[in-house]
Symmetry: C2
Subunit: 132 residues, 2 copies
């Protein structure tokens, strides 16, 4: 695991932990989907595996309601692995089409956190999943 | 689609497009896996679907070599949907364990881009996938 020089203040970390806990306790535990308003920004976007990107808190609320109730989810314990001050970076949301021999083209969506290294912009965190 | 007030300079966008193109043309098209050194930072992390997080450029190079050659991938066209100046946010990498009734616990990894809204830190971009 790369050790990041994090300069994230403790009060920010505490605030983040509280929001993550809210998701587990209120949204999942208590089926209180209006708590999502305290978790997501108004114009937030989620990129769930197996489906398209979903934009805006109302649509996001519907997504979680369907998933949590439909799948009878009991808990979702979130654990931060790393928290990076993003002042020196850029966050990109994107789509990709992957073509491989002998299979249908596959639609992928991704989030990349970019950072400059030796004067060149590069991918620092790269996560993706499929749309279907 | 939420329209972001992006203040990303055009030369940054051009630099990013060049790196994304490098991935498609050199890494995928020409099987030139050393081009990944120009794409990922030295301590980059990737969070691929169906597997654990992978840290560092050498391990990332191995991942792509195996995937591209093993799956005989022909192209991966990347299209930016949004590019956000991240100066006012925080990037978090995390793990989650999802427990649902009647199924085994599921391990998930995620990247969340946090932003403050009305003085409270919230999830602004949220993407995840499963580890297996």
């Amino acid at each position: 695991m790369a050790s990041q020089q994090t300069t994230i203040a403790n009060d920010l970390k505490a605030a983040m932990a509280k929001v993550n806990e809210l998701f587990n306790v209120e949204v999942i535990g208590n089926r209180n989907f209006s708590a999502l308003d305290q978790i997501y920004t108004a114009d937030a976007r989620i990129l769930p595996p197996g489906g398209p990107m979903i934009t805006g808190r109302e649509a996001i609320r519907g997504f979680w309601r369907d998933l949590v109730q439909g799948g009878n989810i009991q808990s979702a314990a979130l654990r931060s692995v790393d928290v990076m001050p993003s002042a020196d970076g850029v966050v990109e949301i994107g789509n990709a089409t992957i073509v491989a021999e002998g299979t249908p083209a596959m639609d992928v969506k991704y989030v990349v956190y970019w950072r400059a290294e030796d004067g060149q912009w590069k991918w620092h965190v790269d996560i993706w999943n499929t749309n279907a």
